[in-house]
């Protein structure tokens, strides 16, 4: 086996992953927190007010990163689901299912911040345009995956069924992203330039990019935390899990 494949194989083994994730977690949480604080400070305090929307636009620093995450996590979940279905790798099953609630949360945040923003901008909390609708459908897909996972008794069968559903639902992702292009919608087009080339200067852009990075780290951190717990539960009968539990009792 070539070294890369070998490493992949090793990573796929629950005990190894458990320990690796345990070592990574403090770093991830720390970096995510620093990034979030920096991004929010940059966005809410340092960035200049928009000339059209004054301070209302600042919600962009929560809205856009969580919108991006809602799609990114879905893709991540579906990819892991694919691996789980084809190669039956337990770790992928766990990762896919651990990602689903996080993705649902980001989707919900995107929807909530979007409609809070929509009230001053469009004069309504909600309209039925293509981007908003497809994002809502995304939320329902997440809920469907979670619901299916919890409705089945056998954990591994449950994660395979849910992974399958996640794969089917992936057709929705391009619709979310390109909806602004395919249909003429109320929602902004997909460039930040819409704010006007003169105004989207560095001081407005960098906090957004920092937030995008920080939310990715946040996702990674909470994903690994959840996956560790799930793995421990799944492998409760195994020797390594018993040792972990014993060690936990001793400390």
């Amino acid at each position: 086996m070539n070294p890369l494949l070998l490493w992949f194989h090793k990573l796929g083994s629950p005990p190894y992953f458990y320990r690796l994730a345990g070592r990574l977690l403090p770093w991830l949480w720390g970096l995510a927190l620093i990034g979030l604080v920096a991004g929010l400070y940059g966005g809410l305090v340092l960035a200049p007010a928009d000339y059209q929307q004054s301070d209302a636009f600042r919600i962009i620093y929560v809205h856009v990163p969580s919108a991006w995450m809602s799609m990114f996590i879905y893709a991540f979940m579906a990819a892991n689901g694919f691996v789980a279905l084809v190669w039956r790798i337990k770790l992928s099953e766990t990762l896919a299912m651990a990602a689903a609630p996080i993705g649902a949360a980001f989707t919900a945040i995107c929807l909530a911040t979007g409609s809070i923003w929509g009230k001053p901008m469009w004069g309504t909390w909600w309209t039925w345009d293509a981007r908003l609708t497809s994002e809502l459908v995304l939320l329902f897909l997440y809920l469907g995956v979670i619901g299916l996972y919890h409705a089945i008794e056998d954990r591994r069968q449950a994660s395979r069924a849910a992974a399958f559903l996640a794969l089917i639902g992936i057709v929705n992702l391009p619709i979310v992203h390109f909806s602004v292009k395919w249909w003429n919608t109320l929602h902004q087009g997909s460039t930040v330039k819409l704010f006007g080339p003169s105004l989207i200067d560095g001081r407005m852009l960098w906090p957004l990019l920092v937030m995008a990075l920080a939310t990715k780290l946040l996702f990674a951190a909470s994903l690994l935390s959840r996956a560790r717990v799930d793995l421990l539960e799944l492998e409760a009968g195994k020797e390594w899990a018993r040792q972990v539990a014993l060690a936990g009792e001793r400390t």
Binding site: D154, R156, L234, E235, A236, G237
Partner: protein, 220 residues
């Protein structure tokens, strides 16, 4: 038992280190055994010992957590398996709204027909003459089971996997199952049946598989 020696022909069914875990709890341990043409093997076990689960694994409905199932020496794939295997489970696979005859016709369409027998003859030989066109729903528990037994007679499968074939049957019915098993063995088929042990295959001493005995290869 007219089993050929192992090096002559591969066994009809061979289990190698078969294990099944449900939520990582072992249901049955590593089991290894072989079935040759002409074998009727009785699998006894207490309530909850995993008999039903084993039959599902052997038929390919469930995937084993470890170990392999070989049919005629080749590993089990869903496509190959099914010509060879008839499974009779706790659920009989019979439509209550259709007549026994319609049910059997469907089974033939799906699984093929053994030469030299018709659905009518099969129903007659399980004691359901006169019930050909009654909806199965209106039959009693034991009569339904007989319809499922008639299906075994019709479909040309060499390996029968029968889950508690004696349950719900009266004494006549039990004798009938034993007759069918004998006939099947004589024709070169093999059968694996489960039972709680109060009824059993009575012709000769059938070989037994014990689900708790995981150490060595059994009944080989």
């Amino acid at each position: 038992m007219n089993s050929p020696t192992p090096d002559e022909a591969p066994p009809l069914l061979q289990a190698r280190g078969l294990t099944y875990l449900r939520n990582d709890e072992p249901i049955f341990g590593p089991l290894s055994f072989r079935l040759y043409a002409g074998d009727v093997v009785l699998m006894e076990g207490d309530n909850g010992s995993g008999k039903t689960t084993l039959l599902k694994v052997l038929s390919g409905l469930l995937e084993p957590s470890a170990g392999t199932v070989l049919l005629n020496g080749e590993p089990l794939t869903l496509a190959r398996l099914s010509h060879q295997v008839s499974l009779l489970g706790h659920l009989l696979g019979i439509k209550g709204d259709l007549s026994p005859l319609q049910n059997l016709r469907f089974a033939i369409g799906l699984g093929g027909l053994r030469p030299g027998i018709t659905p009518h003859q099969a129903l007659k030989s399980v004691g359901l003459e006169g019930y050909e066109d009654v909806p199965v729903r209106q039959l009693s528990a034991g009569q339904k089971k007989r319809v499922a037994l008639a299906r075994l007679l019709l479909v040309p499968a060499a390996l029968w996997l029968l889950d508690e074939p004696y349950a719900n049957l009266d004494r006549d019915g039990i004798a009938l199952v034993n007759r069918l098993l004998e006939l099947h063995a004589l024709r070169g088929g093999a059968a694996l049946i489960t039972s709680h042990g109060a009824y059993a295959y009575t012709s000769g001493t059938p070989r037994r598989i014990d689900l708790r005995d995981t150490a060595v290869e059994q009944a080989a």
